[in-house]
């Protein structure tokens, strides 16, 4: 537990973390081709802000900020606990990797059309602002706005290539996301009607286990699950994520779906902690288990690499929901809660790095070979060794094998599953790990195949893109070697900051 000093009004990094990207988005629109330069300037700055915010949370404990000085229920509050700080930093790091990767693919040389370039960078900044708003908001309506902005940025991102099938996929995405928003809003309205506030901290005090709360929680959860693409609401995800340009897929798969997952946890653990029943937690985990098994099996059968990676996202999102019953969702506090909580969040973070790396790697294979049919990528490993290595390292985290963040996360979830007597979730995780091994190695196998003549990339792949991919993959590995710091940070603001874990 980091030392908690008396809360004093530190610099409001929390506001800057939201304002910086949103201001960037607005400024980018009139800039045209120069939007890229602005984004490349803002993203490293945003990382610094994120790190400063995390340091502030680390030093001072939970950071809250009442906008305009109006405290809830009159005003709207922002709040950063350890979990939000970790997510904000993760977002900034992934975006930095993606921006480095994209800076050459989304640039408009003088005299060329600027639409795609402008759109990409403006959307990226908007997305970033929406993500941070979702991670830092403490008001359910505020969070609704963040979710809407996220949808409005993410859907065009999925259809940047403007082909018929990507447009269809984006439309389907839009449909699911809007339906999710409506459900979420309905739930929020019910809560507001019953308790007269949407502030999370106040709700936690006021809301009790009664039908209206249950109805509201069910509606909001269903809406968030649709946006998270949890099985069986995952149908929109694979075509949308696989059809986007690599840099966009990376952001969508690594970060965007995590925002709605984050809100599920906020809702269940922070806003309505006393409301959830054990059965509801088990149901959520059961859906997660379905996602793991179903997504992995489908990933095994994909012919195209990007779709394989997308289905793997469906599967990996399932692990996140296993943490709900394990971390004590719908039950009394248990000694293993901290372990499960950290395991789940660590999984979300390491998956973000790994999946971003994997989508970018798939994009580079696609660029080099002109297609992404797995069986026909023979010998690409020799042509792009660094990218192949990155793909393998990212795969490590997805398999949950050491040394990787995925392993530590899975270890924590497994030990808590066994310690709490819920061994069936452990079996699901083991099965998921084996299936993941199946699809990761199926993708790696042709890459390493020896060909008669050396394969040359059809289009040259810039060095800096390869480094960006490898850097992100190494982040997911590094989390397995040194997860301690994020682990301690994660406990800030948790009700039972039992740091010993279990054992």
């Amino acid at each position: 537990m980091p030392p908690v000093a008396a809360p004093e009004a530190g610099f409001p990094w929390i506001v800057l973390a939201i304002l910086l990207p949103l201001a960037g988005m607005v400024a980018a629109l009139p800039l045209g081709r120069h939007a890229r330069a602005l984004a490349l300037l803002l993203i490293p700055a945003g990382l610094v802000v994120a790190l400063l915010l995390a340091a502030q949370v680390w030093r001072e404990g939970e950071v809250t900020y009442a906008l305009g000085g109006w405290t809830p229920p009159l005003g709207i509050a922002l709040r950063a606990d350890g979990f939000s700080a970790v997510m904000v930093v993760t977002t900034a790091v992934v975006l930095l990797g993606v921006a480095l990767f994209a800076q050459s693919s989304f640039r408009a040389p003088p005299g060329e059309e600027t639409r795609a370039a402008l759109l990409f960078w403006a959307l990226l900044l908007g997305l970033w602002g929406a993500l941070n708003a979702a991670f830092l908001g403490n008001d359910l309506f505020n969070l609704y706005v963040a979710l809407e902005l996220l949808t409005l940025a993410a859907v065009p991102m999925a259809s940047l290539e403007a082909r018929a099938e990507t447009l269809a996929a984006a439309l389907r995405y839009l449909f699911f996301a809007l339906a999710g928003s409506v459900l979420y809003l309905l739930g929020a309205v019910l809560l507001y009607g019953a308790y007269g506030t949407l502030d999370i901290t106040l709700l936690a005090e006021r809301a009790g286990p009664e039908p209206v709360t249950w109805a509201a929680a069910a509606l909001m959860t269903a809406g968030l699950l649709a946006k998270t693409a949890l099985f069986p609401l995952h149908l929109w995800l694979p075509p949308a994520h696989a059809g986007a340009p690599a840099a966009a897929s990376a952001v969508l798969s690594a970060l965007v779906v995590k925002a709605s997952f984050f809100l599920v946890l906020r809702l269940w653990f922070d806003a309505l902690p006393g409301v959830m029943t054990a059965a509801a937690g088990q149901l959520l985990a059961a859906l997660g288990a379905g996602a793991i098994l179903f997504g992995s099996v489908l990933a095994l059968h994909q012919v195209r690499m990007k779709l394989l990676v997308a289905y793997s996202t469906v599967a990996q999102l399932g692990y996140l929901f296993l943490m709900v019953p394990l971390a004590g969702g719908g039950g009394a506090a248990q000694p293993w809660d901290a372990g499960a909580w950290s395991g789940g969040v660590l999984h979300a973070v390491s998956h973000a790095f790994a999946k971003a790396a994997m989508f970018l790697a798939a994009g580079l294979f696609l660029r080099a070979a002109g297609h992404d049919r797995i069986a026909e990528l023979r010998g690409m490993g020799a042509a792009l060794p660094m990218v192949t290595l990155a793909f393998g390292l990212a795969g490590l985290s997805l398999l949950g094998l050491p040394p990787s963040g995925g392993f530590i996360a899975k270890w924590l979830l497994l030990t808590t599953a066994m310690a709490s007597g819920q061994w069936w979730w452990a079996l699901v995780m083991f099965a998921g790990g084996l299936l993941a091994a199946g699809y990761v190695f199926r993708a790696l196998t042709p890459l390493l195949a020896r060909t008669e003549t050396p394969v040359l990339p059809g289009r040259p792949v810039p060095r800096h893109q390869q480094w960006a991919v490898l850097g992100l993959a190494l982040c997911s590995v590094a989390l397995g070697v040194a997860p301690l710091m994020p682990f301690a940070l994660l406990q800030v603001g948790r009700p039972e900051a039992a740091e010993e874990g279990i054992g």
């Binding site: 020799a382 050491p402 924590l412 497994l414 030990t415 790990g433 084996l434 196998t445 020896r450 279990i502």
Partner: protein, 495 residues
Amino acid sequence: MRGALLPLLVLATSLVPAVVIFFLSEHAWRTRTAINIAGAVGKLALVAYMLDSVAAGAEYELRFPLVPGLDFLLRVDALALLFVTLSAALWLLTTIYAIAYLGEGPHQSRFFGFFSLCVAATTGIALSGSLITFFIFYELLTLSTWPLVVHRGDGESFAAGRKYLAYTLGGSTSLLLGIVWLEGLVGPIEFTRHGTLAGLDSATLGICFLLLVGGLAVKAAIVPLHAWLPAAMVAPAPVSALLHAVAVVKAGAFGILRVVLDVFGIGLVQAEGLGVPLAAMASLTILYGSLRALAQDDIKRRLAFSTVSQVSYITLGVALAGPVAAVGGLVHLVHQGLMKITLFFCAGALAETLHIHKVGEMDGAGRRMPLTMLAFSIAALGMIGVPPVAGFVSKWYLGVGGLQAGQVWVIFVLAGSSLLNAAYFLPLVYRAWFVPPPGERAGGWTPLLAREGHWGLVLPPVATAAVALAAGLFAAVALSPLGWARLIVARDYGL
């Protein structure tokens, strides 16, 4: 306890080369070779230093928390050093061999990168002080061997690679389940804290033992979990040496040693009656492997089944649970490594230089490659258990240990296996020395070395054969493998 730096340094001597080599250009042959050899020699020097001080009673430890309640722990004790010394010495020789063997072949940076990573993983396995640290390196080994198994990049290699992964990842799952289960009950398990499991009930202990040993048995190639090993023979010869002698099967056997000796403890294993079934499985494997070896016409496949059989001596020794048998098992970890790597080096050299792959093609090989075949013959005789080669010492201790533990049937297993060993090794030796080469009349001796292959293919097997011979001849010396195994057992049993 002192010197947290030393275990880290030993690990770094192969981890750093691995990372550097990955980023070397394919053509940087000299740099790559220099880094490889420097790492291997450096590691050997560190190991020699530690041997000396651990014999005097020192122990080194490095510990840092991964997450609260989960420590990463490296510890140098006598058992760890037994394995580290073996892998460090054989790594140096295998590297020399591999450089000569691969010559100008493609993908060398990838090959040597993963090769060093494998050795780093093996070192980590040896030095692990807790189950979770062991598991981390055990998995690293699985993953870093796969690219080596599929190195040739053809259909057959990938089929073997798939089989390898299917078996080993299945094994890891069982292993991890066992670890998670046990640690969920008693907290983190370290190899020094004996007796932590004493309070558990028999059923849990039995199931966890089955999960742990069953998972480890995959790499240790205990029947019926052995099928990946013969399939993996498609890999290049240095990789086979690595799989069979330096790293993979040894990691499995070493894991079983740790589980029996340091996790459960001999006393608990005996009290729960877990040792006898394990000894029975090991014996079954010993006989089954030998029988299958007899039926193989391909030399490398014959050697592979011979490994299946021989590695189980290690398990047998420790499962019998008496101090003498344990010495036999421990010492065989080293002896089998020395002898089997010799055989694989020779088989690779025969295939490279004379294109001999089948038993029937061995005629006259001794006259064409006398040094190689001399090494081969010594190792083969050692495998059979002929004195004074090292294998005899192992079998002697195992036999006496079996009697001491009251398991007389062990003698028959050992005798039967020795007969079978003779039946499948002697024809090779006989053909090599006493049958004239095809197309050449008997008696046409040519000068030594004239037809041997590259020196890098000859020196390693000759060296390992010489060490195997010396390990048998000078078994009574304190720093011989036998002396060291006795030291471990004396410390472990508190004798």
